[in-house]
Amino acid sequence: MIGMVIQVLTLSGLILSAGLVWYFRDLLSAAISFGVFSFLLSMEVLFLQAPDVAIAEASIGAGLTTAVFIIAIRATQKVTEADGE
């Protein structure tokens, strides 16, 4: 019963964070939200008793991919609408 509740909460968090990636206009917020999505996915894989996949997902999904996005975002410049692009 308690396992069922935890899995439903984790899957709801997955859907919520995936929606937030689409919703945020700020690129850094979207990248962090994608990191949260990967973290919740690794937790879900851990609940399904595959700790091997969970370690790989946590390090590559939440660590390396988020770092790639953040490095790419640091190379961009913020343009506001008042600047007229």
Binding site: D52, I55, A56, S59, L64, A67, I71, A75
Partner: protein
């Protein structure tokens, strides 16, 4: 440009724990979940954390691209040499020539339920270490090359 002081301090505190955890996963690859690939990815995450937190100039001075390339080459050479020594020892390719010899990683596995001995497995821990070095070098090289490519003011 550097990230904020909060990010830099957090990366500095987290990095040693990530390194210890990654090397633990690599060395216990034949006993616990994980192995060479997962441990190497965790160690690479520790280096990438520093690359995200600090500016391009500081990374350029302290982390060498050649060193990471040599690490990757060393891992691959160790992997294929371990497989080739088995041919010299009279076994098949990738044969387990250290198993039961009593030396390094050579203790015979005891029967029944036991907590696991690190000094078992023969050639498997050596292959895990080789894959760990390879993945650590390769993933760090990918991120470091990307950081140098976008260096304009990042």
């Amino acid at each position: 440009m550097n990230m904020s002081s909060l990010v830099r301090t957090g990366a500095g505190i987290l990095m040693p724990f990530l390194l210890v955890f990654g090397f633990y996963i690599v060395l216990h690859g034949h006993l616990t979940p994980g192995g060479g690939f997962q441990g190497g990815a965790v160690i690479a995450t520790a280096f990438v954390l520093l690359m995200v937190a600090y500016s391009y100039e500081i990374i350029w001075e302290r982390i060498s691209l050649e060193f990471l390339k040599n690490t990757e080459t060393l891992g691959l050479m160790l992997f294929i040499l371990t497989a080739l020594i088995a041919l010299v020892a009279g076994l098949a390719f990738f044969g387990n020539w250290l198993l039961g010899a009593g030396g390094l990683f050579g203790t015979p596995v005891s029967y029944g339920i036991n907590p696991g001995d690190l000094n078992t497995g023969g050639v498997i821990p050596i292959l895990n270490i080789a894959v760990g070095l390879d993945v650590l070098g390769a993933m760090s090289v990918i991120i470091l090359t990307m950081l140098f490519a976008v260096r304009r003011d990042a």
